[in-house]
Symmetry: C2
Subunit: 119 residues, 2 copies
């Protein structure tokens, strides 16, 4: 009936479902930025707030809890130190996001070049 379908409807639905599952964990304004910061070795609360420009303590705190729930970060308290040091460390699972981050960062960079040059 239709001629121009490039991929099957089921493939399309599969892709939509899959990005839906990804966005459930990674969606929103801050999650990916936080993951990048964590992977880049920024592990302490105020350090994260400093490097992720514009994020409030409230939001950072909430997002870190969700990242922990989803197995991407771990809250580590070093109770021996005084004052107590809290670190948020990316899990091994968070490393699996490197391709996603790379693809998105790459596209974002190219996109910026595009809009700042010939537009």
């Amino acid at each position: 009936m239709e001629q121009k379908i490039m991929y099957s409807d089921t493939q399309c639905a599969k892709n939509i479902d899959a990005v839906e599952d990804a966005l459930y964990v990674l969606g929103g304004k801050w999650k990916l930025r936080i993951v990048i910061a964590l992977i880049s070795g920024h592990n302490r609360f105020n350090e994260l707030q400093r490097i992720i420009k514009g994020i409030s303590a409230r939001v950072l705190s909430n997002e870190l809890k969700q990242l922990e729930l989803n197995g991407l970060a771990k809250r580590v308290v070093q109770a021996d130190k005084t004052p107590v040091v809290v670190e948020y460390v990316p899990t091994e699972y968070a490393e699996t996001l490197k391709d996603v981050v790379a693809a998105l960062a790459d596209w974002g960079q190219k996109h910026k070049k595009k809009i700042t040059s010939h537009e």
Copy 2:
């Protein structure tokens, strides 16, 4: 001073900025799903609304306008046909998103497997 930084602060900031630029265009609940649907050959308004489950006409209409503004989709009216047929076609530029979609869909799929199996 610090030993454990894996990547430089500037690299981290660059990545954060780049995904920020990408999310400005692609962020939100629907944009990527619509792009996938468009690339998959679903081009008409009601067709898109049918395949993208849960999206309302209002939101679909708004998102399509934004995708057009950002050069990812083009609204094509076939005035000759009766009734008039409106098609939303992905631009060439939208094709550059394939890597992003693939990375995200791949991760989403693996993530779903992870949480539905051993959790």
